[in-house]
């Protein structure tokens, strides 16, 4: 397995939904965008990769290291996987200020060093001026950048984003999307994004993955999906412009 790659080949059981996921994300190839109808298991797929849910069988390999291997009994705990995760509503810690949130993830180091790294992470996403702000006072776009800085400050080996634009007002979505797409390209780490929005798919995708009822029904570029939609959902998704 070469460096900068997240390879997933697993089965799981999420409540009543059996899930089978097979995908590979490469840092060099742009994000993998997972789409699919509600209840298809998109968020569950992220939960399995990040380690919050346990697969039934299979393997998750990141940069050549097995994070999960059902056959060999490997199951690296969440906090040791070094996979950044951005949930839909960002989950910033309301009892800490912006700097405190980003410092939380920096890891063991003297305070001054942690603060330097946190500030650098905020600068990287263009919001260093928010340092002392309380979380409750942030706009949706600001909160997203702070959450992104927090996830990246630790130097994750992969990044998972669950509906990164769903919590934002339609008015600012376009601008945030453009920023996020450009920024993710500069990171060069395997990235997986769940969305239900075609505009996201256009902006982010190197590779699309369509999930229906827990199964991967189609993979390929957006253009390939458009040319040959395998299912009704895919057809509706690629036909849906605007948003």
């Amino acid at each position: 397995m070469s460096s900068g790659a997240l390879a997933v080949e697993l089965t799981g059981q999420i409540g009543a939904l059996p899930l089978a996921l097979s995908m590979e994300a490469r840092g060099s190839a742009g994000p993998v965008v997972i789409v699919g109808p509600n209840g298809a298991g998109k968020t569950s797929a992220l939960m399995l990769i990040v380690g919050a849910l346990k697969p039934r069988s299979g393997r998750i390999v990141l940069d050549g290291e097995a994070l999960f291997d059902g056959a060999r009994g490997v199951d690296v705990p969440v906090e040791q996987r070094r996979i950044g995760f951005l949930p839909q509503r960002y989950a910033l810690f309301p009892h800490l200020d912006v700097l405190g949130n980003v410092m939380f993830g920096v890891g063991a180091a003297p305070r001054a060093a942690r603060e330097r790294r946190a500030r650098a992470a905020l600068r990287d996403v263009g919001v260093e001026e928010l340092v002392g702000r309380r979380i409750a006072t942030l706009s949706g776009g600001e909160a997203q950048r702070v959450a992104l800085a927090r996830a990246l400050a630790r130097g994750p080996r992969a990044l998972l984003l669950d509906e990164p634009l769903a919590a934002l007002d339609a008015g600012i979505r376009r601008e945030v999307r453009a920023f996020l797409a450009a920024h993710l390209r500069t990171l060069g780490i395997p990235t997986v994004i769940v969305t239900h929005d075609r505009a996201d798919a256009e902006a982010f995708a190197g590779q699309m993955l369509v999930l229906e009822q827990g199964r991967v029904v189609q993979q390929g570029s957006l253009a390939q999906l458009e040319a040959q939609p395998a299912t009704l959902f895919t057809r509706q998704f690629v036909d849906h412009h605007g948003g």
Binding site: P87, R89, F93, H95, F104, G105, R154, P156
Partner: protein, 271 residues
């Protein structure tokens, strides 16, 4: 709705005042029922009589014992109630709901029943009596019994507050904290506890107040031995037979503490 709907016609204008008046009288009745006894505690005494009352020899030991035991039971409640609440908040299913209900039961259980139950569990002839006596640790009618009785009745107040606070912590926050490298204990101490602090504090205050005021279960399980198991409420009960002033002085102390706690909880809850 059509205007033809009211067959009985609108109530006469002359009787319109009746509704607010009746509500006012009823509300005032309850207000008086609560306020009058509280006022009586103050109005029927003088500072000198109060001071006299506090010089009774059983006052000092009772205050000390109450402080020691209620603090000990609060410590026990925090130490054991916090993990229990965390487990209850994170689990679902019939069994856990049953456990949660059981933990709540002491709130509505008559104190006399609590006393009997404690005796039947830890008493000399109770379920664990043989074991405890064999280990030289007979509980009934000791200070330990006071603490056990207080913990039994007071714990639910804290546990319930903690469970409802813990349930409000977004699961995503816990997960994100772990993806940021925090172990489970670190997530608990650095995210869950700070986020729940206000509710935990007021729950602990309620719990402590309940422990401080515990009477019935203590009387039955720990007895009323001056200097050993006679807490403030029991001292009040005893003083009632000899010197009403002492009972009144002690009552005012407990009233002041209860009032201060309530104000603190309400102010804390508003922040």
């Amino acid at each position: 709705m059509t205007p033809a709907g009211h067959s009985g016609g609108p109530p006469s204008i002359r009787w319109r005042w009746l509704w607010p008046a009746a509500a006012g009288v009823l509300a005032l009745a309850l207000l008086l029922l609560i306020a009058l006894p509280l006022a009586a505690l103050f109005l029927t005494t003088s500072p000198r009589a109060l001071w006299q009352g506090l010089r009774d020899p059983m006052v000092g030991p009772a205050i000390r014992l109450s402080l020691i035991t209620s603090t000990a039971s609060l410590g026990l409640v925090l130490l054991t109630g916090t993990p229990l609440a965390w487990v209850l908040a994170r689990r679902d299913g019939r069994l856990w709901r049953f456990v949660e209900t059981m933990v709540q039961l002491p709130v509505v259980l008559p104190p006399a029943v609590a006393g009997v139950a404690l005796l039947l569990a830890f008493g000399r002839r109770g379920l664990l009596g043989h074991l405890l006596a064999g280990a030289g640790a007979g509980i009934p009618f000791t200070r330990a019994a006071v603490v056990v009785a207080q913990t039994f009745v007071a714990a639910p107040f804290y546990v319930q507050a903690a469970v409802s606070m813990f349930r409000r912590v977004e699961p995503d926050m816990l997960l994100v904290a772990r993806t940021l490298g925090a172990s489970r204990p670190r997530v608990f101490f650095r995210v869950v506890l700070p986020l729940s602090r206000a509710g935990l504090t007021s729950g602990a205050a309620m719990s402590w107040a309940r422990a401080l005021g515990e009477f019935g279960a203590t009387l039955m399980f720990a007895g009323n031995l001056s200097g050993r198991t006679q807490t403030l409420p029991l001292a009040i009960y005893t003083a009632l037979e000899s010197d009403l002033r002492t009972a009144q002085s002690l009552s005012l102390i407990l009233l002041a503490v209860a009032f201060a706690l309530l104000v603190a909880i309400r102010v804390g809850g508003r922040r």
